[in-house]
Symmetry: C2
Subunit: 338 residues, 2 copies
DNA sequence: GTGAAAGCGCTAACAC
DNA sequence: GTGTTAGCGCTTTCAC
């Protein structure tokens, strides 16, 4: 493998000069710079980033820790993050944890083992042991939490207000005349699920409708789980006229299951999702859903992370971004009003 | 940041001994080993991987170069690769190229700049300039090409036979009595699209049906492109009775568009996809599709890559894995036979 | 069995 | 403006 010394020898300068040509060209005289550049180009030399990183004690790598790395939901967020990372000279590594805490920690450990400089956290667990005696800022590496709120305060984070968002969604269903509204929840350990459930309950309360435990089913953010949950809801003796699924994927699975059971959407059931993934527009009927501002979330993440990467201490900033209800064809008036 | 010297001092041994305890514990006497281990545990020391990599000139990182990193299609392949990588001590980095050649090359360059040891290539371009005078093996880093066949021979690769797969799919539609079969193709520069189109043509030819250019529409692997293509196909005066989309995503978009136009599936149109993504089972109607053996593809990739990582020269091995036609509800007898 | 020392490739402080 | 030198953190000969 060709190194800086080879270039130096070939261009008849010192390694230091080669380094300068590549990093601070202004410090070098025209002729030497040209000579070095010529050799670099001819040989295709690329600095060994291990040497650079070791010397600079900076890797210019970031790691995104994601429960389900390659999910449709995260894609636009990740894309925005990566684009900004690149602009600032960082590369983004994706760490798929498959929901395993051990994997969350092993990716988080990349910072400690100097393979990455900072972390974007999409899980609800903080993959570090924290010492309550000391401040978070001194214990944690550059870090930002997004989408799935972490259960510890003081971590910089970017989210929508899941409670208000769910409240809005349910309000909309209520406005269509629905009185019994089923829920296909995610998994009950997830803070966003809990927040959305709170929003659901508060909307019902405001409307003077009593809460019915039977109408809450766990779909676990899985296609199969949502199908099962749908069957249960649709089989209730006093069945709901609307179903609010806590993800678009689950909503799609719900619609498909209802179709198979012979129901029409939105005539028999209104279905409302969450996330506004790109399929939402292309399923049939197209899906009414709560949109999260993915790109903005990604941008905000980097806005909170970059200062930390530049050495500023972690700030307990919570950025709440606006959600939006996107009304499409999967929701309609309650059957009794048609 | 705590280093090997700190551990050494604390445990009253030399850095060399600490290193031995961590890598070749057998070379160290019981008592020193215990002492070192205790300190390591207490301090939470993790070796700086930059130092290790620099010294060993090996990073234990692999990079997967993917046109659309976070697509539903690639997920199971990536997951299998990552799992095997991990078992062999490697980490997998995902590089999303967003179809840009410059990004393909910049990720490929991670090997040259010693940020990664090998490449898994999911694009159809080889992101290296090759010198025809010399062998591929001496010019290329450890590398394997998958899913989207690269246009240069001699690269180890893993694929299904796209031509035969498309042929089988069309044969199945023909067996249902369809005589006019529309195609929503990917993008025409992609080798897999071309191969699938070949399969389509050969199946028609064998059935004695003449090829009609009008029935081929480009969907470009995009949801919107597929919707547009569907509208064109369904508006033809002599319209097809079946549509073969070259990806499940496009097939889903196609079905949704047909629904919106008032058509029934499979009564008016049969729709057949490609990939067998997890939604295929959950859309309505559930989607008939060509399954690629994702996990097996991932495994085969690592089987071809690991020997190269261990220093063996690149072999021009082409692994062709079996595809499978999965019949579900979106295909049925041609309308004239119902 | 263990420690001292060299060196992986690079950059930056320092001297000239 | 440029070269010399030290050192980032680690592993591995080479002596002992």
């Amino acid at each position: 493998m060709i190194g800086i010394k080879d270039i130096a020898k070939e261009a008849k300068v010192s390694p230091a000069t080669v380094s300068r040509v590549l990093r601070n060209p202004d410090l070098v005289t025209e002729d030497k710079r040209a000579r070095v550049l010529e050799v670099v180009k001819r040989t295709g030399y690329t600095p060994n980033s291990l040497g650079v990183s070791l010397r600079m004690s900076k890797t210019y790598n970031l790691v995104a820790i994601i429960p389900d790395a390659i999910s449709v939901f995260n894609y636009p967020v990740i894309r925005a993050i990566e684009s900004l990372a690149l602009q600032n000279g960082y590369s983004l590594l994706l760490g798929d944890t498959q929901e395993m805490e051990s994997r969350e920690r092993s990716f988080a450990n990349m910072v400690r083992s100097r393979q990455a400089d900072g972390i974007l956290l999409f899980c609800s667990r903080l993959p570090f042991d924290i010492d309550p005696e000391r401040t978070l800022a001194e214990q944690l590496p550059p870090l930002v939490n997004a989408c799935e709120p972490v259960d510890i305060d003081g971590i910089p984070s970017v989210n929508i207000d899941n409670t208000v968002a769910a409240n809005d969604a349910v309000d909309y269903l209520l406005s269509l005349g629905h009185k019994r509204i089923g829920v296909i929840a995610g998994n009950m350990t997830s803070p966003s699920t809990i927040a959305r459930l709170d929003g659901y309950k508060s909307a019902l309360k405001n409307a003077g409708i009593s809460f019915d435990e039977q109408l809450i089913q766990i779909g676990d953010y899985a296609l199969s789980g949502a199908a099962e949950a749908t069957r249960k809801l649709a089989s209730l003796t006093n069945r709901p006229t609307a179903i609010f699924a806590f993800s678009d994927e689950m909503a799609m699975s719900c619609m498909s299951t209802l179709h198979k059971m012979g129901f029409k959407i939105p005539q028999d059931f209104s279905v409302l999702g969450f996330d506004n993934i790109r399929y939402a527009e292309y399923c049939s009927p197209s899906l009414t859903t709560v949109a999260q501002p993915m790109t903005e979330i990604g941008i905000a993440c980097m806005e909170l992370l970059l200062p930390q990467l530049n050495g500023e201490p972690m700030q307990p900033i919570k950025r709440i971004l606006p959600h939006q209800l996107i009304v499409r064809e999967s929701t309609g008036l309650a059957p009794q009003l048609i």
